[in-house]
Amino acid sequence: MNSNEQFSVELLNAYIDGELSAEDELELLEAMQKDTSLLKRINELKRMKLLVKNTYLPSAKQPDSFTKYRQLKFSVLASALLSVGIAGGWYSHHYTSVYTVPNSRVSHIDTSLDTVKVKEPWNIVLHVNSNDPYVQKTILDETESLLESFKQSKEKVKVEIVAYGKGVYLFDSKKTQYKQRLKSLKNSFNNLSYAVCGRTVTRLEKNQGRKIKLISKMTVARSGIYQIIKRQKQGWNYIRI
């Protein structure tokens, strides 16, 4: 499906204003990577937002915010260059095609735009690959305390738990010991998402000859490792507990 039709203008605007739930945002981010016209639309909306915002900033403060943007731009550029070196050709192609500013005469307001997409807050991906209730509990406890502290400091942070191997049992609605806990966590934090390794699920289903019913509202990724690497490419922090 064409992603321009899939996402309404309201949804794109909500994304610009940071009002999307973690799930919707993930979906949009994935579509954005594939579809440059979508990215273009989003950048145009961001431009509108920043134009309005910057126009009404008191000028005395502008140099500060602008130098901040410049520094940020520099650091983003540096990190982009670094990842280009690591990731190789196709990745660099992606970055340069997306972030080139076409018109050299555009001023600060415009140039600051290319930082916005990368200015994502530090998101965290956690993984679980064990069926040990103690390990699983620790992960859930850590996740909760993380989310709680971010909530208090009002930082916009997204957390995703990726399960593969034996960790898949944590999300198996028949075997898990933490069904209620997972559900209440998900309900109280909309910036939390769960993902499970699709390959493990198929393998388990084949071995055990039963259909595995996962808990509701979770993503099935191509594979657990792939999901974690994908998140790291998107700039997420990977933490092993």
Binding site: L12, D17, L45, M48, V52, S59, A60
Partner: protein, 193 residues
């Protein structure tokens, strides 16, 4: 319990932002200050109506919005947008040249751009302008805006997107011909040298 100390704390913390917001509504520095002042007076009078200090933000902006609506109704010596000429003696940043580290060309381009944004914004209807300024300038969340304008979130969402769409139209449809092109960007004409 909410009291006037908390109100004064809120106002002193948020003064800059509130002033920017008021200015984006009426585009006049003096009027913006009046607006804030009026809102504060009204807020002090009605302070006993606020039950919870969390509600103060929405409540205060609501009052300010009402003051602005009153002002529009009375047609109180409002500056027309055509008078928003580039001499910005009345804007919030009339001493900007002291702080900006820009070349004259950059500064001029910046000013023109800002003036165009201001013009475009004031062409928006009041309901679109309110929502957009609350979100973009004041940084309110959709929930807060929906409380302030007393409408469901869906309405806020559609108003935000329509406002941005209209703004984009006003900013791009108008031809760019009038813009002064800096000398170094002008095409070289043979025989000029």
């Amino acid at each position: 319990m909410f009291n006037k100390y908390k109100l004064s704390k809120f106002c002193s913390e948020q003064r800059g932002l509130l002033l920017q917001l008021a200015y984006s509504w009426c585009h006049d520095r003096v009027l913006a200050e009046d607006l804030l002042q009026d809102a504060l007076v009204k807020a002090l009078k009605n302070i006993s109506k606020v039950k919870h200090s969390k509600a103060i933000k929405a409540w205060f902006i609501q009052i300010m919005l009402n003051c602005w609506r009153d002002m529009l109704r009375k047609k109180q010596d409002l500056r027309d947008i055509d008078e928003l000429v580039s001499d910005d003696s009345n804007s919030l940043d009339n001493d900007s040249h002291l702080y900006e580290k820009l070349t004259p060309e950059e500064s001029l381009y910046q000013k023109e751009l800002q003036l165009n944004v201001k013009k475009a914004l004031s062409r928006l209807s009041v309901k679109y302008r309110t929502v957009l300024t609350l979100v973009d300038i004041y940084g309110a969340s959709y929930t807060e805006v929906s409380v302030i304008i007393d409408a469901p979130i869906g309405t806020v969402m559609s108003r935000v997107s329509r406002a941005r769409e209209e703004l984009r139209k006003y900013l791009t449809v108008e031809p760019d011909l009038e813009r002064v092109v800096p000398l170094y960007n002008r095409p070289v004409v043979r025989g000029d040298e």
